[in-house]
């Protein structure tokens, strides 16, 4: 039986939407410059290798109307820890296409996007609409957004080379967001964002299983996860950016998350950006994330059918992770050439350390020096390091 990769399913589509929220223009006074970007990324960690390639093009057709298109391909090889313990290497590919139109009228920017994401065993379609309004002497920007996502969830019961897809169900998600950005002084800007997401339908990852104590040689048996068919979450983020007396910027942000599954997440991040004349821009970041487990999550349950809902998906476990990243951008065309206003190339490397507080690493430890297996429920807590590498070129015209 082939298992898919991590839980990149619907979250991939939602993340795609989050991305669009980022791509949306800053102040609604002029639409952003035309640009084309070529992007390559590689994620290595936890037994997985995922490469990503993307192309993005953005063009204004009049001063008030712009179109943006993006194509993104993810390729996975490897298997995540809970599938490492159960099966073999997998390979999979995800293709995402998105298109956005933007219209600027006076101080308001309207934006409409469509995203389509396809994997062998997961299809997701999202529609997103937002508007952004500048007010109060352009010191304040109010943004409101709405999205709808519809997914088809399947399970591959064949192999990587000969897939047999069993379509298990559908999931639907709606997101409502609002944000306020405020210029506080000549050097300081702050923002607050709120996003409420509600999901319903088939919300579990079909490839993960729960385990419960049993009297077999392993000490535990596997069973299917049972998830609620609804989930509502609220996230609030505040951030501020400050211009330092010499030319540099420091950003601090905090996000609080809570949902009806009992997950509470806190994210803290600090970034520092340091330009060198018109040519180099260096950036460093540190991010710390901590979450509490979902109420129905358990690494190992006392017996089968212990409670109505049960999950052993590491995304819902109590965990923390810390990221340290650095980025360098070099402007090889700082002042333009022919139709190009500017050209840059960027290298971004992040190192993430993941540490789980109630998710155990159930791979076989027979060949370790200490020898022997661990008794069920006493395996070491899972932890791993991942490196995310990004290389991209941006042309502005």
């Amino acid at each position: 039986m082939t298992h898919a990769l991590l839980n990149r399913r619907r979250l991939a589509a939602l993340a795609g939407v989050a991305a669009l929220l980022l791509i949306r223009p800053g102040s609604a006074d002029v639409l952003p410059d035309d640009r084309a970007d070529i992007f390559y990324s590689k994620y290595s960690g936890g037994g997985m290798d995922i490469t990503g390639e993307s192309v993005l093009v953005r063009k204004k057709f009049t001063e008030n109307f712009a179109v943006e298109a993006n194509y993104f391909v993810d390729k996975v090889s490897g298997a995540s820890v809970d599938v490492l313990s159960q099966a073999s290497v997998i390979k999979d590919e995800r293709k995402q296409k998105s298109g956005t139109v933007e219209y600027l009228h006076d101080k308001t920017t309207y934006s409409l996007s469509f995203i389509n994401s396809v994997e062998r065993d997961y299809i997701s379609n999202t529609t997103h609409f937002s508007l952004s309004q500048d007010m109060f002497g352009d010191l304040t920007t109010l943004t409101l957004g709405w999205s709808h996502t519809g997914d088809s969830v399947g399970e591959n019961n064949g192999t990587a080379s000969k897939p047999v897809i069993d379509w298990l169900g559908h999931a639907e998600s709606r997101s409502y967001s609002g944000g306020l950005s405020q210029i506080l002084s000549r050097n300081l800007i702050a923002g607050v964002n709120l996003e409420v997401i509600t999901d319903n339908g088939y919300l579990a990852n079909p490839y993960r299983s729960i385990r419960y104590y049993s009297t077999n040689t392993l000490g535990y048996s596997l069973a299917s996860q049972i998830y609620p068919d609804t989930r509502t979450s609220t996230a609030v983020q505040t951030q501020a950016k400050y211009y330092l007396p010499y030319r540099a910027a420091v950003t601090g942000s905090y996000r609080y998350f809570r949902d009806t599954w009992g997950v509470i997440g806190n994210t803290y991040e600090i970034d520092y950006t340091h330009p060198i004349r018109n040519i180099w821009t260096l950036e460093g970041r540190v991010r710390y994330y901590k979450q509490g487990a979902a109420t129905f999550y358990g690494d190992i349950f006392p017996y089968a059918g212990y409670q109505n809902f049960m999950a052993r998906d590491q995304d819902l476990a109590a965990s923390e992770n810390i990221t340290v990243g650095a980025k360098a951008t070099y402007a090889f065309l700082p002042d333009g050439w022919k139709i190009f206003k500017r050209g840059t190339v960027t290298l971004d490397i992040s190192r993430i350390r993941f540490h789980y507080l109630d998710f155990r690493d159930i791979r076989d430890y027979n060949d370790t020096p200490a020898g022997g297996n661990y008794a069920a429920g006493t395996e070491p807590l899972y932890q791993f390091n991942a490196t995310v590498f990004q290389l991209y070129m941006s042309m502005f015209f």
């Binding site: 991939a12 993006n70 944000g179 050097n187 030319r247 994330y289 960027t346 995310v388």
Partner: protein, 75 residues
Amino acid sequence: MRSPRPVLLFGAILLLSACGNIQPWVKPYERDRLADPIMAWDRDAISSAYLDHVRETREGSRGATGSAGGGCGCN
């Protein structure tokens, strides 16, 4: 009988006019630093989107990851 609506409209306009008396404290010609690209909330959307994607697929949290606003305020 007189309708209360015009009075309510009048009251609302008065309230709004009070707001109008607070002048923007950063003038458009003082936006030089805010217009600097390093003060943009997100210089490389394609990269931030990717990192957000990496996180959302491994963490239970989702949403509220961006901001709009700031900049030169021109036009």
